[in-house]
Subunit: 211 residues, 2 copies
DNA sequence: GTCTATACCTGGATAGAC
DNA sequence: GTCTATCCAGGTATAGAC
């Protein structure tokens, strides 16, 4: 009996988080109301407060969920490829993998952080962890590639480029643009593999060397 | 008399647009209320409706204002530098020029388009014109540089990179990161000047050549 | 032109029946 | 656990005095 109830509670809780996750992505956090979520989950508005104390708490649950998904995705990429270069390529290729959604709604991480920033929302730091997770993982891969000095710089660089591509892909819905940029990032990556690495020093000149 | 009244009307109208412009940038469009604007302009909420029919109309006025400012900025850059390479550098260096605001609020163009996209707002296309303006201008400069085939591709590339830098600069507030990326974009630009140009063809390999 | 007052709605949140 | 009913704050928008 206890068990059954508990399972039901967890089930609807998960449904709420799942629906909120999607709606926050598609419509933004502030713009999605309890009514929106209630409609897709098919529960009453009042029922939310059995599972969560506030809307912000739902947001935190969503961020937690995304964090978990991200981590397992990164683990999978690590398991699937032995070579760090291939792993980084997996990262770059999410732009292709998720291109439909990215063209419609942008990057889920970037758009969330940007919105929470404008709202000056207390969960900003939480959302930032999503970026941190990618950043740390990428840094590790670049270190394994032999760039232990500039690993974080390189990670930030490729992360920024993906964000830029996602942003413009969302605005212009241009598939060819995405493919072109992904190809370019991949060849940048290949060119890196052969070089001796970059340093984090004050007067370092380039992140990569174009010709 | 008529004249004086008209001038007053225009004056407060401009104040409203100016205040809305800033607040939309800092807090986002949806998140800024009439009360917010009224407070900074020091007028009553009811008075808005003498100047605008709705909040959306204020938004359109703000976008129009930003468009005008953008165009005059681009004209100035064109007047200040004879060489297209230097003009493009002016574009890249807005990231430095406006770094304080960018670290606080992101890119005004990107964040607005992203928000209106999530809201599925009717003025999305209007806001997109801001990107178009930069894109067309950059394309022209790249054409002048001798890259008439891939000019738009290159314009999109550098625009995307700026967006990515602005995005991460906003999230991480990292000044050194901005400077590094700006340097990198500038050296990419220099490397382009010497090359023979890139084509828009289907199987074009790279947007730029790293090493 | 600008104000005050107010209508109307939707949002998040609470209370209590079942 | 879930519902209905309700509260209250805040938003946009309108009416009408000045």
């Amino acid at each position: 009996m206890q068990k059954a109830c508990f399972m039901n509670a967890r089930a609807t809780r998960n449904q709420i988080v799942e629906a909120a996750d999607q709606l926050f992505y598609e419509q933004g956090f502030e713009h999605t109301s309890f009514s929106d979520i209630a409609e897709t989950v098919q529960i009453s508005r009042g029922n939310f407060y059995y599972h969560f104390k506030s809307k912000d708490e739902i947001l935190d649950a969503v961020i937690g969920c995304r964090l978990a998904n991200t981590r397992s995705m990164l683990e999978k990429w690590e398991a699937d490829s032995a070579r760090p270069g291939d792993r980084i390529q997996s990262f770059i290729r999410i732009l292709i993998m998720n291109q439909t959604k990215i063209m419609l709604y942008g990057c889920p991480v970037g758009t969330l952080c940007a919105e929470l920033g404008k709202l000056d929302h207390p969960s900003q730091a939480n959302a930032e962890q999503l970026f941190d997770t990618f950043l740390d993982w990428l840094s590790r891969q670049f270190t394994l590639l032999g760039h232990d000095q500039g690993a974080k710089t390189l990670a930030l660089h490729i992360l920024a480029r993906s964000q830029g591509v996602a942003m413009l892909a969302n605005v212009y819905r241009d598939e060819a643009f995405i493919e072109r940029e992904v190809r370019d990032m991949c060849s940048w990556l290949e060119s890196l593999a052969g070089s001796e690495g970059l340093h984090d020093e004050e007067n370092q000149r380039d992140v990569h060397r174009p010709s």
